[in-house]
Subunit: 335 residues, 2 copies
Amino acid sequence: MLKKQKYNVAIAGATGAVGAEFIALLENRRFPVGELKLLASQKSVGKKLTFSGQEVAVCELTADSFKGIDIALFSAGADRSRQFAPCAVKAGAVVIDNSSAFRMDPHVPLVVPEINPDAAYKHEGIIANPNCTTIIMGVVVWPIHQINRVKHIVVSTYQAVSGAGAKALAELNTQQRDLVEGRKPKPQVFKHVIANNIFSHDSKVMDNGYNQEELKMIHETHKIFQDDGITISPTCVRVPIARAHSESIYMELARVVNLNDIHQVLSRATGVKVVDEPDNNLFPMPLDCSGRDAVLVGRIRRDPSVANAVSLFCCGDQLLKGAALNAVQIAELLI
Amino acid sequence: MLKKQKYNVAIAGATGAVGAEFIALLENRRFPVGELKLLASQKSVGKKLTFSGQEVAVCELTADSFKGIDIALFSAGADRSRQFAPCAVKAGAVVIDNSSAFRMDPHVPLVVPEINPDAAYKHEGIIANPNCTTIIMGVVVWPIHQINRVKHIVVSTYQAVSGAGAKALAELNTQQRDLVEGRKPKPQVFKHVIANNIFSHDSKVMDNGYNQEELKMIHETHKIFQDDGITISPTCVRVPIARAHSESIYMELARVVNLNDIHQVLSRATGVKVVDEPDNNLFPMPLDCSGRDAVLVGRIRRDPSVANAVSLFCCGDQLLKGAALNAVQIAELLI
């Protein structure tokens, strides 16, 4: 992309949960925005959103939306990305796509700026943003992988409902009010009641027994790390909290674990904050990382019986580092 | 113990969350109760609880409470067990203790009736009930261990607040009401806010970085299974739900996994119910097993890359199978 003083930016899916974060991040990170074009489905047309103190009207996302646009941030679902991202590329924009549509396409780089920033420069018009759980795991595992190769990961997730969108978050709130006021909650967005309950992730379960969210963690990590040799055993679970995903991660490394080295490398890692106070029983919690850029990591401990294994627990805001922030960081690499 | 037609039963901790389950189970399972003595701390004296349609007054738990008692069910905390269980034994009762006080004592059997019923008969007056997370994991892992030796377990838990007692449950309810009504929740029982949050288990973290709950899962499983060779890597986490613990379990077995065999052995296992419907995305959920005896198990799947590994997800009511039910089942072994 040509170096410019200002860049015209389009946001496809501007009225969604991630769209709102895109707008806030472009403003707060002082991204050099020229024109900002907010795009959504027809039913949102005319709605006005605020960017840098100015009202911007939402326009309909169509094939012709991208004339003059330099950077198009997409978070409108995989179907719309498949339909409209090629139009944006054709119009000359670079697309940074938050959906799963192009992530495993060999012509599309899958980028976490803390891990593989160089991949971003090899784009052919589209750069994919990884799945939220993959990003959160990746920024914590990658620094360790640099000093002691990660061979095997067992990960169980505790995923917030806003990862399933604004409607899912509204459903949690409604059901929690139902419980407090003595009504029986009825599931509508999710298949099962989420208030006072947990359930296996709501993505489709494939023939091998793994759901799509889990398979993303495996395949996307392989692509980002450029290392298909890491075996990954994920279990993805939805929990009744509003925001920020947590992950319990067990790792077997190539060599015996030196806990000091791991503490040190995580303390210095970009995008990571160590919160590890055993005496205070203070470790990463979703409430503490909601709205924060960094992925919090703690409970860093050597396995009691496996000399080359280490366990840890991390939390990240899946709407920020898990989605909008990562995409804006990719845009920052390009300018 | 002599075979009798009726047994005099004492419940120490009758007014607690587990105490209430003891009373209900003795009635519902038609345990041949002669006299029922309900014991608690002085502040509950005079309170009346109902057993089989009759009111029973709560008496103070003292050293002299156990005259004529055949079976004493203890769930009043480890300190009271240490203080009063020996008095009960001296008075001629068999103590079934739900606390951690005697679990690792080599003179005290640690019993899960589905796993090691014979150990119960070797008691010297006290039989210990394992920790709830240990029992729930054990009843699911044991049947698999019988057909293909379990060598390594990585387990992450999703533990309900009622596992921390009735006050913790009340705190969750209060905080959820606070959120719904727009107030900021304040932690009192737990160190951290539990509504809309998750946190590392509230037990003390030891020098090796593992908390006491996690160490119980390791050491108690070794004792119950009589197999110190199983390496266990637990992560225990509290989630904002009222009742029933869930566990995400990854296991490496001695030989290559045959998924049909594992399904079959779990389908036939006592105390276990398989809930495993990938097409409906229906797997074990805490809401579905609250108030139920069986531990629910599902998401039974071969690891995609480790030929001898299998993963599964289970839920159990930690006040029933994880506590009161297991203890009453032990009592049933004795009569």
